[in-house]
């Protein structure tokens, strides 16, 4: 049986488990899973732009924040939850079009820092636009406005699944190949007919759409949003850590990374917030220094350095 098949079956099993989970779990465990899906979806979004094209974003939480605020406002204006999710995702994606054209001209550290700056600009706008966002006080959503936990659970699950399938599809598609070529050598890719700007912007917009929707559901889950929680720097880092930990540029990496990091956090966060973060720091160092391919590279270690490797297959 080949790796692709194994992955497919594991995927089907996980989807079945996640769909049945609400039957056997209490509210808290269910919302824990919801958060795992949240992290998976965000990590896949980051994977899509940074893992695939190599444009390392340190500010993708900006789109999360935009989605969260848009959704909070739409809900208070009386829109149904599902429309709020769709519209928030759309707003994030629309915003990503001009931002993509502007920021993707930048290379390497400049892009990373510009995205970080963008996230901060988002926070600043949310802070200073008091008439709409209530500034630092933030917005609280009355419980009547919010859908039930099951609805939020399955929506978040859908987003995680959708993001994963999107990444999986892109991975095997011609589009994904072009993105990876951009990651390896942008000029050379352009020179063999890849419209690098268009490809990058499409990837960027897709990778903004997902956090937009995730932010929209997140705010329904916490029923509260303020500038620092919407545009939280730690969330940017979390996406990166999760992807790198699992394995960058792969389909399974973000899922494995999210699972591990979230379990670790669940063990520690409430009692030992400092220890939880310090552990995350140590984990990060270990992965960066000793395991650059992430956990996935342990599971699947095919060093294709000799001609006897099997041909015609994507990683």
């Amino acid at each position: 049986m080949n790796n692709y098949r194994i992955g497919l079956w594991i995927g089907v099993a996980l989807v079945a488990l996640a769909s049945l989970a609400p039957l056997g779990l209490n509210d808290y465990q269910q919302s824990f899973l919801l958060q795992v899906f949240l992290v998976i979806a965000l990590a896949q979004a980051w994977n899509l732009i940074s893992g695939m094209t190599g444009y390392v974003s340190f500010g993708h939480a900006a789109f999360f924040g935009v989605g969260a605020y848009a959704s909070a406002l739409l809900l208070t204006w009386g829109f149904p939850w599902w429309l709020a999710v769709l519209k928030s995702a759309g707003i994030a994606a629309l915003l990503a079009v001009p931002l993509g054209f502007l920021t993707l001209r930048l290379r390497g550290p400049y892009f990373a820092i510009a995205m970080l700056g963008l996230n901060e600009v988002g926070r600043i706008v949310a802070t200073l636009w008091v008439s709409v966002t209530h500034g630092g006080t933030g917005l609280t959503l009355s419980p009547e406005l919010l859908p039930s936990l099951d609805v939020k659970y399955f929506t978040m699950f859908g987003l995680a699944l959708g993001a994963t399938l999107l990444v999986a599809w892109i991975h095997r598609s011609r589009f994904g190949l072009e993105l990876r070529a951009i990651r390896e050598d942008e000029e050379a890719a352009e020179m063999v007919g890849v419209n690098t700007t268009l490809n990058k912007v499409i990837a960027f917009v897709l990778s903004a759409l997902i956090p937009g929707a995730v932010g929209a559901v997140y705010v329904m889950y916490t029923s509260y949003i303020n500038p620092s929680s919407a545009f939280e720097h730690a969330r940017n880092i979390e996406m990166i850590v999760v992807v790198l930990f699992g394995g960058s540029g792969t389909v399974w990496g973000p899922i494995i990374g999210a699972g591990t990091v979230m379990v670790l956090r669940e063990m520690l966060w409430a009692q030992f917030p400092a220890a939880h973060l310090a552990a995350l720091g140590v984990l990060l160092l270990v992965v960066v220094l000793y395991l650059p391919g992430g956990l996935v590279s342990i599971l699947r270690d095919r060093q294709r350095s000799r001609p006897d490797a099997r041909s015609g297959e994507s990683p």
Binding site: R180, A188, R304
Partner: protein, 248 residues
């Protein structure tokens, strides 16, 4: 922009190409005409502007002034990918295969999006240079010579009408080198035009019907190899005592 009209016999024409890097003129009014179906050579001392000329023609360097016409269309200012899709392909002086892509992927990525038989075709190309067994090997794991060859195969995927080769044989072992030149000749036989930067004068003499000589950003001579090898200015450019601006 009213570019001068390019003779239909010429696939590529450049007029007055000038590229200025903050005061340093890498190209100064270069005029170049590549005949359809020819293998044209481009020679000149190091730093004379050959690679810059390639950068400008292929669209990677969009800061030049002047005019470039490819197949009767003015392409100056186009994106490299547009130019490539129009049928003008190039290789790099230092091999630029995609290191983390497999050999097959390296070649497939250069094919047209809509072509279903892309993979078959790529494998066929690999077959021809005895690299088919390497299809699943990552680009970074190839030898340098193999990388250059893969890069060459890559640009063939779009059936380009004109191929710019930037020292394709440099660093390639003699056997592979021969394979490469054989393929160039073969493709030329099928109608492809080549513009080749090459230092080996034997290859130039053997291959090229016409040669351009670039020195310090200017075309100082052109014609068949026999003509330019006796040209005073060419000799001076290569061996001359009066090296202006200390350019190497």
């Amino acid at each position: 922009m009213s570019a001068p009209v390019c003779d239909p016999d010429h696939i590529l024409c450049a007029w007055g190409l000038t590229r200025d890097f903050g005061g340093v003129q890498a190209l100064r009014g270069v005029d170049l005409h590549v005949a359809r179906g020819s293998i044209t050579g481009l020679i000149g001392p190091n730093g004379s502007g050959k690679t810059t000329l390639f950068q400008v023609i292929s669209g990677l360097d969009r800061g030049a002034t002047g005019a470039v016409t490819f197949d009767r269309e003015s392409i100056l200012g186009w994106r490299p990918s547009q130019i490539y899709r129009r049928g003008l392909a190039r290789t790099f002086q230092l091999s630029r295969v995609f290191p983390e892509l497999t050999v097959l992927e390296n070649i497939v990525v250069a094919g047209s999006r809509h072509d279903r038989s892309v993979t078959e075709r790529a494998l066929g190309l690999l077959e021809r240079v005895n690299l088919r067994d390497y299809a699943a090997v990552l680009g970074k794991n190839l030898s340098y010579g193999q990388q250059k060859l893969v890069e060459f195969l890559r640009v063939l995927m779009s059936d380009p009408a004109l191929i710019l080769l930037d020292e394709p044989a440099a660093g390639v072992n003699p056997t592979l080198r021969q394979t490469l030149w054989d393929m160039v000749r073969h493709l030329n036989g099928l109608g492809a035009t080549f513009l080749v930067i090459e230092h080996n004068m034997e290859v130039i003499a053997d291959l090229c019907s016409e040669v351009y000589v670039l020195s310090e950003g200017e075309i100082i001579a052109h014609g068949d190899f026999a003509a330019i090898r006796n040209d005073e200015r060419v000799l001076e450019a290569y061996f001359g005592k009066s090296r202006r601006h200390g350019a190497a």
